[in-house]
């Protein structure tokens, strides 16, 4: 027989104005299993809480129902009070008499009766409540950051500066990402490398950061606070300890005509190479796919010229296992290439280039040393067209979204062009100018007003080559949709930002969700923008959606702050509202039959397998097992389980069933 205490709150007059609280307390007192009931003006006040605490002790209550406001308001208050009186806090439930009854109904007997019904329902629920205890999960205070662009760099530095160990993994030979490729940055036109390289160096020198370049995530297991990551360190074919980064090998390598990734194919690199002069680490790697020795078994020039004997042709990939408590995913984005635009020549016109290629042409470290020269013949283009929304906002291209950064960088490109080619003419075809951001609109206005960039509102239907010129056919919708044809020397496509190739596989490895465009999904679009659905894995930057640099840096710092919060305690405390797979007597051991429908339905990948073994260690059966570190307590699995083998603490089948029964049986 239960000994439940029912405490009816008047909430001043908020409840008592329409509900006869004394009557509710009186009826509740007669309910089976109720040992004590009373009403009081303010249950949440100190004296009110004291009544509850006193009665728990005096009457030896084994369950408490506080009938007051919404549990979303004061459940923690009353559970804490119960806990202080020695009653397990999860034996306390709230009946919502204010928001769901007194405030929404007029004073009447029916209103009081509804209050009684609500109280009775919760009394029946409490009878089936079990004491629960907070789930404690240990936390490994080391973070893994995947991706060494500005997002990964910022997140690593912030976490490291908070005093925690960070492993930064980058798949390319150097950190820096797309930002290192940029010439200048909007809206200030300061040099990208000048602001980025100090951060890169800081990463390399930070005592708390372990940098792994030319490395990728192979596998991720575990859960928040307790991940096990396997990193594949691709063979660089050099001994990094011996290499001094003198660069002699890269000047002597005979294979010199490999399109440079860093220069977006507009320049060349050697087979043993450092992607760019400011690379961190500034040590070369051998590109096995292009090296003569790996291809034909002959060459080894680099080995001959290396003054420290650092070349290692026999080096193999290395798998490193790491234990980390949190993961920040900062794998960035990519852009559509010119070959994806049939209307603009399928990439067959060398002078139709992407915005990223233009960055390299405009960059002092680029293939033209910062002079704008067209790729086909090296001439300075006299006329140039920029096409905004190339792919973006175009459902036909499968990218209905706005890539967000293009309006701004196109304005920047046109300005840079006008600054470098004073007599040049530039045109921008655009759909809308989206320049929302601090000093952004001013920036695009500056391009139009001060730098005399010609903005044409309309789309370009076709670009084709004729007599060494590119003919751009478009429409100017602001001039009564007048067709426009411009003969130019170069065309720059502000092509859509897209997810990196391999994002889908990476997301699956980490069990995080991704959207229809393979960008990673945040846990909540507004309130959890840097969290993923998998606790302990956070997002930073453009792997989530196209983002500009300030937004990326803000997100990275946000993700780092989340990691620092997680690492601020040795143990993670979690609400014990989690699903549990039952156990029963042999020969069943559990009624779970291992169909794992629950596992496929779980939004958090919290359900795994467990082998039930006999004393000799033989597997008797495989059943589902909920990882309480990952389970968020939605209970979707419970409603799926045909044999009712999985149940949700706090909202068990018995509790919910009793509520329905009690509600309908006066």
């Amino acid at each position: 027989m239960s000994k439940i205490g029912v405490f009816i709150c008047h909430c001043g007059e908020n409840i008592s104005a329409t509900v006869n609280c004394g009557k509710v307390a009186e009826v509740a007192g007669k309910l089976e299993g109720v040992a004590y009931s009373t009403d009081y003006k303010y249950m949440c006040s100190d004296p009110g809480q004291t009544i509850i605490k006193q009665m728990i002790k005096e009457k030896g209550l084994d369950g408490v129902v506080v009938a007051a406001c919404s549990p979303r308001m004061h459940e923690p208050t009353f559970r804490k009070a119960c806990s202080e009186a020695g009653l397990n806090p999860y034996l306390c439930e709230m009946a919502n008499l204010r928001e769901h009854c007194s405030w929404v109904h007029d004073k009447s007997d029916a209103t009081t009766q509804k209050a009684i019904d609500i109280v009775r329902t919760l009394v029946e629920k409490v009878k089936h409540n079990k004491p629960l205890s907070t789930i404690k999960v240990p936390v490994t205070k080391k973070a893994l950051v995947i991706g060494g662009g500005i997002a990964g760099i910022q997140a690593s530095l912030d976490i490291a500066n908070a005093g925690h160990q960070v492993v930064l993994v980058e798949k390319e030979p150097s950190i820096g990402g797309h930002m290192s490729q940029l010439s200048e940055t909007f809206p200030t036109l300061d040099c990208s490398q000048c602001i980025l390289t100090p951060r890169m160096v800081e990463v390399a020198q930070h005592p708390n950061i372990t940098l792994m370049t030319y490395a990728e995530l192979e596998k991720l297991d575990g859960f928040i606070g307790n991940f096990k990551a396997t990193i594949r360190k691709k063979a660089k074919s050099i001994d990094e300890k011996l290499c001094t980064g003198c660069g002699l090998c890269t000047t002597k390598c005979p294979t010199k005509k490999i399109p440079s990734e860093f220069n977006e194919g507009l320049g060349f690199r050697t087979a043993i190479y450092v992607p760019f002069p400011q690379a961190v680490p500034n040590k070369p790697v051998i590109d096995k796919l292009n090296c003569q020795y790996y291809l034909k078994g002959k060459c080894k020039v680099c080995e001959k010229v290396c003054p420290t004997g650092a070349i290692r042709f026999d080096q193999e990939d290395e798998l490193v296992e790491l234990e980390v408590g949190a993961v920040v995913v900062a794998t960035g984005f990519n852009i559509m290439t010119t070959s994806e635009f049939p209307e603009y020549g399928y990439g067959k016109y060398p002078d139709v280039i992407t915005g990223l290629q233009f960055e390299r042409l405009a960059s002092a470290s680029g293939p033209t040393l910062g002079e704008i020269r067209r790729p086909s013949d090296g001439k300075i283009p006299e006329k140039i067209v920029f096409i905004a929304c190339a792919g973006s906002r175009d459902p036909a291209k499968g990218k209905p979204y706005c890539s967000k950064i293009c309006c701004m960088y196109t304005a920047k490109h046109a300005m840079l062009y006008q600054h470098k080619v004073h007599h040049g003419e530039s045109y921008v075809f655009y759909m809308d100018i989206r320049a929302a951001g601090k000093n952004y609109d001013e920036f695009t206005r500056r391009a139009i007003v001060e730098d005399k960039v010609n903005y044409l509102r309309g789309r370009v239907s076709k670009v084709y080559e004729e007599n060494g010129k590119l003919i751009v056919k478009g429409v100017d919708t602001l001039l009564n949709a007048k067709p426009v044809e411009i003969e130019v020397d170069m065309v720059v496509l502000a092509s859509a930002g897209v997810a990196n190739p391999g994002s889908e596989e990476l997301a699956q490895k980490m069990h995080i969700s991704y959207d229809a465009y393979n960008f990673f999904s945040e846990a909540h679009p507004k309130l959890k923008p840097v969290e993923t659905n998998t606790a302990g894995i956070y997002l930073a930057g453009a792997c989530q959606a196209p983002k500009d640099i300030p937004e990326t840096v803000a997100a990275a710092s946000g993700a780092a702050a989340k990691v620092a919060i997680l690492f601020s305690q040795n143990e993670l405390s979690r609400e014990p509202v989690v699903a549990v797979v039952n156990r029963s007597a042999p020969p069943l051991y559990s009624t779970c039959v291992g169909c794992f429908m629950c596992a496929t339905a779980c939004p958090y990948s919290a359900i795994g397998e467990e082998e039930i073994k006999d004393r000799k260690g033989n597997v008797i059966k495989k059943v589902a097992k909920v990882n309480p570190g990952l389970c968020q307590g939605c209970g979707t699995c419970v409603a799926f389980c045909r044999s009712k083998s999985i149940d949700l603490d706090g909202y068990t089948n018995e509790q919910m069933y009793s509520e329905v029964m009690a509600l309908l049986n006066e």
Binding site: T591, G594, F596, T600, S643
Partner: protein, 266 residues
């Protein structure tokens, strides 16, 4: 037929399997499931149009599992059930030898579940027109009349659970009806209990049922419970696209599409 017997013999002789689950002569003119453990008994195997029991039901039965690795005579309905059991992690390829039987009564061996799936592509689950007509007729009744119709149909049910025992997909070691904390379904076979049991059974088969009709064939009272699952199969198809078990694919009800369409939610 001879082919099948020879194959079964050789599987037992070589000890590749320890039991062959097949059809044999039953009482009167009927066939029944037989379980052969000796090569010399294999001559009892037969296969013809009378063989309608879904033998896949035995694959998950404790008593049969104890006999060792099985080979199973598998016409199309059995193949579908095997695939669905595989989707639900109840069978592994190495667990059994499948002696497929084509509609032309030819022996087809399958070395993987994928091969079964490929084969079944040519034999998609299709609801018979006569059943469709019956379902439409029921749906056309006014709601009270429909309810009365079913209550009358379900009244003779005395909860023998033959439908459950015959269904290859009812393999839970402890069924919800045996649950008494809480007592979801009243144990007695009264109107409410019968109704609740059959609603639950149908819902548990939603998106899983492969339309083998074993439940209906097993029902001693001839209650048309297969209409429930058939109607749900139609619903699955209507709302979520063509249905057929596919290894590596999730069940209809443990998956979703954010764009699932309905017209009844405000």
């Amino acid at each position: 037929m001879n082919e099948l017997i020879q194959k079964a013999k050789s599987l037992l002789e070589s000890d590749t399997v320890q039991v062959v689950i097949g059809y044999g002569k039953g009482s009167a003119d009927k066939t029944r499931a037989i379980f052969l453990t000796k090569p010399e008994d294999c001559d009892q195997l037969l296969f013809d149009s009378r063989c309608v029991q879904n033998l896949a039901v035995y694959l998950t039965k404790h008593e049969i599992k104890h006999l060792g690795k099985p080979a199973i005579v598998a016409p199309i309905p059995v193949l579908r059930s095997i695939l669905q059991l595989a989707v639900e992690n109840q069978l592994k390829e190495s667990d059994l030898v499948i002696l497929g039987v084509s509609p032309e009564s030819k022996l087809i061996e399958f070395d993987s579940f994928g091969a079964i799936e490929l084969f079944l592509n040519a034999y998609k689950i299709q609801i018979d027109e006569k059943y469709k007509a019956t379902i439409d007729k029921i749906k056309a009744m006014p709601v009270s009349e429909r309810f009365a119709f079913w209550i009358k149909e379900l009244e003779p049910c005395f909860k023998c659970y033959a439908c459950r025992a015959a269904c290859p997909l009812c393999y839970c070691p402890k069924c919800t009806v045996e649950n008494n904390q809480p007592q979801w379904i009243p144990a007695a076979s009264h109107l409410l209990g019968n109704l609740e049991w059959h609603v639950m059974r149908a819902m548990h088969l939603a998106g899983r049922c492969t339309d083998c009709e074993a439940c209906y064939n097993a029902c001693p009272m001839g209650i048309p419970i297969h209409l429930l699952t058939k109607s749900m199969l139609q619903d699955v198809e209507e709302h979520f696209g063509p249905y057929g078990p596919s290894v590596g694919k999730r069940n209809t009800l443990s998956s979703f599409n954010p764009d699932d369409k309905e017209s009844f939610i405000r």
